[in-house]
Symmetry: C2
Subunit: 254 residues, 2 copies
Amino acid sequence: MKMNIKMTIAYDGSRYYGWEHQPGNDLTIQGKLESVLSEMTGRPVEVIGAGRTDAGVHARGMTANAHLETEMTEDEMLAYLNRYLPEDICVLSLKQASDRFHSRYNALGKTYRYTCYVGSRKPVFDRKYVYVPEGVPDIRRMRRAARDLVGEQDFASFCGNPRMKKSTVRRVDSIEIERQGDYLTLTYHGSGFLQYMVRILTGTLLEVGLGKRPADSMPDLIAARSRPLAGFTAPAKGLCLMQVDYHTRDRSDS
Amino acid sequence: MKMNIKMTIAYDGSRYYGWEHQPGNDLTIQGKLESVLSEMTGRPVEVIGAGRTDAGVHARGMTANAHLETEMTEDEMLAYLNRYLPEDICVLSLKQASDRFHSRYNALGKTYRYTCYVGSRKPVFDRKYVYVPEGVPDIRRMRRAARDLVGEQDFASFCGNPRMKKSTVRRVDSIEIERQGDYLTLTYHGSGFLQYMVRILTGTLLEVGLGKRPADSMPDLIAARSRPLAGFTAPAKGLCLMQVDYHTRDRSDS
């Protein structure tokens, strides 16, 4: 039977060159999924992701779809995938979707979370999933600066691709900055993000929190449209794609 | 100033050959600590651990002491250690102890925790700290069997060292078996444990939970004093030394 499957996927990106399939390089999440699905169906399968995550970035809710032909049930496919995928990639759910469902074109928004360890010791057991800033940032200053980053704006200053030809306008719906015990999290929700944008926003906000740049300097920084004026690119390991939003009719039930 | 320092230590044991220093092998926790302390004081320092953890076993509360001579304060030593130790070892606290304090001889009891993932997916982000059993064990059956393992008994059937010459009598104070969401934990408290004892107890209890051996078979197993009759040795990665108990006068304040 021909079908279009929709998958929600979690992965530890530590050892991968990112989501996107690269010719001649097997170590990508998309590549691993395509390889197992092709083996499962006996013919080449293309996996379409909601977006690309960079090398070293993690996901707890990446969404992808794939058109394939099989007699297997959804549960059988889910079990097959999780059995043959490496232990650092897990398909959390798998459902048949409408033929027209496209995980990238239909995505309405994405939630990313950046996690910092700000305790007085060392994050021994989750060191691959957190970044340790040089000091404890002031979250009130960060929240003040984050307010000016919300909205539909030209984020050219926060774009990691210097040869970006297309529009650098994006809509950031919210940036929530929370401290829970030894952890500081920055949760971003928006329509879409430019390359490295979440990590550059995070690096810039951390610099504000550490007193290295004024909390009210974001409007000028946005107006400047200049990447060198923004903060450092926070390391990939602290970043995780949490969720991709779709219209209810596209939503997987699990 | 000469002093005896008492340290509480956390480590991810994944890449180590265990706690104990081995001649010609630098990859032990004790070896790493001795190397940094010796560098710090400018002369060889011996680190005495409360016990040995095997290759791949983790700790959140190992205790160790070391006699050394330094002009540094406790806080300075703590900062120095955490700066120069690898990122998978952290000294949680460091206090001056009485000259007579010996982390092994003075230990009154130890708490170990074994963690299994029993969810329907895969433990992507904590896969190095949990074991995934082949099925979901029945914890009522496990608790029933565990009752017969508590007390001062001869645990020869649960001793991984076939050439053990000394007494195999140990006192197990409690075994708590809990399910929390996708995780099943077995928490052992006792006066001391034989080599691989916690892992063999866990393997045996998991076999009871999976219906592979009767829940009331522990007394016969203990009486047999035969390692081959007990269950499998549960993998090292699921095990963590949580705490070492001392008399209040030996207790570190942190």
